[in-house]
């Protein structure tokens, strides 16, 4: 029951979804949509587990007065605020003009956008460290990055505008993107395709079952 039934479910469901690709006849044709909807429903249930875990850990911290317990109060308060207003607003919670939208736009969004924007700094420090001509591979990496970086901005144009058309920085960057870059990209993609085909097969056949745990 603990091990066999899940493996059976996995095999049946997986095999069905492969077959469905070749069978346009209903109800098979709708199976994929249906299963993906079911997945969303399962995820909507599952999030309770995560939320409870987060709240439990935060409350624990507060009651045991572990270091940083004050910030755990902030976590709980932020969560409660959004959930309370979100439930109160109803299914139109996301529309412009609602209270929820105000919270989203003034609290959630700046946090999210800034965390995202931090990447601009990290990409600078990462390229400073990583792009050094240590060996052949690193040099190739460095040169490709260098040309594309320059080719995508006007400086590259100004630096090489004396060259005939087709040989300027922008053209070089484009040539790199369209040929060798794409070739490498394809190799990676085809490799991934094979890796996924094989892993899927192992899962459907029950050879790969780590994700289910043991007895």
């Amino acid at each position: 029951m603990r091990r066999e039934v899940p493996l059976l479910i996995c095999a049946i469901v997986g095999f069905t979804l492969i077959i469905v690709y070749f069978v346009p006849h209903p109800p098979f044709s709708d199976m994929r949509d249906l299963f993906s909807d079911w997945f969303s429903v399962i995820a909507a249930f599952a999030i309770y587990l995560g939320i409870l875990n987060l709240l439990k850990n935060s409350v624990d911290k507060v009651f045991r007065k572990r270091s940083g317990w004050g910030f755990s109060i902030v976590i709980i308060a932020g969560f409660v605020l959004f959930v309370f207003i979100g439930l109160y607003e109803g299914s139109d919670f996301g529309e412009i003009g609602t209270r929820y939208y105000w919270l989203y736009d003034r609290i959630y969004f700046p946090l999210m956008a800034t965390m995202f924007a931090i990447l601009a700094f990290f990409i600078g420090s990462a390229s400073y460290r990583a792009f050094r001509a240590r060996n052949v591979e690193a040099t190739v990496l460095l040169l490709a990055a260098f040309f594309v970086m320059l080719g995508r901005v006007p400086i590259g144009y100004y630096l090489t505008s004396w060259l005939p058309e087709g040989w300027r920085m922008g053209d070089v960057a484009n040539a790199i993107m369209t040929y060798p870059q794409m070739a490498g990209q394809r190799a990676v993609m085809i490799g991934i395709a094979l890796g996924i085909v094989s892993t899927s097969l192992r899962i459907i056949l029950g050879i790969e079952r780590t994700f289910l745990g043991g007895e």
């Binding site: 300027r168 993107m177 794409m182």
Partner: protein, 280 residues
């Protein structure tokens, strides 16, 4: 520790400061720079330019405010182009935030003096279908029936009551699909479903991160062209002869690139200097 050794282990906060200044300072100056155009952007521009007036264009907004700096200028210049060519525009989103982004872009463009005189009407010249959950499955459903995928528009009106949507049942009735994407679901899904399965003509605007991944799909059958990041947006503005935000931002963009490149060069110089010292 010598100068070069110290340079190699430079505190990253120094790099951070340079980048911050490089980005912030140009905002205070209004400089527009020359922008070269590339064939991927021209591909989309000319595809739209060659559509006959009245043709229907579907724009899917598959991003959220996080990617606004890059994608919103693309949305705006594309919308302006469509309206100035008298194309009918159908907007939608595979991301919950998409339709809002669409409305923001509409708001800007419809108030543009050149477009305002056309007195465009909702439901006749453009329509916002809103968001439907289901990611790529939505595209698949649209392939068989758009009215089933989106029974009502953003404002809850039945699609059957919207004049623009009456003859539009699936991708056969749409002359061009344009997808603005910041991840999943996005261009990859539009290629796999709309282009591969239903043979829609597809163009895309992507964040610069995502754009290289889409290069393998370029070609008549999958993607007619792609706008990559702010440079792509600026190119489109230049092609449409309406330089706007993206072109203005390109200055800061350029300076910050220069800073990164400068540090890469410094890093390499220091690296070789220290290596020589070690060898000798």
């Amino acid at each position: 520790m010598g100068f070069f050794e110290r340079l190699l282990k430079i505190d990253r906060r120094i790099i951070f400061t340079f980048i911050a200044v490089a980005i912030a300072l140009p905002l205070f100056f209004n400089v527009s720079m020359y922008v070269e155009t590339t064939s991927e952007v021209v591909g989309i521009f000319s595809a739209v330019d060659s559509l006959s007036p009245g043709s229907k264009v579907l724009i899917s907004f598959d991003y959220d405010p996080g990617s606004m700096p890059e994608l919103q200028p693309m949305a705006e210049s594309f919308l302006r182009h469509c309206f100035s060519r008298d194309l009918k525009v159908i907007l939608m989103g595979l991301w919950p935030q998409g339709p809002l982004q669409a409305n923001w872009a509409l708001d800007v463009i419809l108030n543009d003096p050149d477009i305002k005189v056309k007195n465009l009407k909702y439901g006749v010249d453009y329509v916002n279908l809103g968001y439907t959950a289901g990611n790529e499955v939505v595209i698949q459903r649209m392939g068989s029936d758009i009215h089933a995928a989106f029974p009502v528009d953003y404002y809850g009106t039945s699609l059957d009551e919207i004049p623009l949507m009456r003859g539009v049942r699936n991708f056969n009735n749409i002359d061009f699909v344009y997808n603005l994407s910041a991840g999943y679901p996005g261009t990859m899904e539009w290629v796999q479903f709309a282009a591969d399965r239903f043979h829609a003509r597809l163009g895309a605007g992507n964040t610069a991160v995502q754009a290289p991944l889409m290069y393998p799909y370029l070609g008549k059958k999958q993607l007619v062209g792609i706008l990559g990041g702010m440079k792509g947006a600026a190119e489109y503005e230049v092609l449409a002869q309406r330089p706007a935000r993206a072109v203005r931002y390109m200055f800061g963009q350029g300076i910050s690139h220069a800073v990164v490149i400068f540090f890469v060069i410094i890093g390499n110089l220091a690296f070789f200097a220290t290596r020589k010292k070690k060898e000798s």
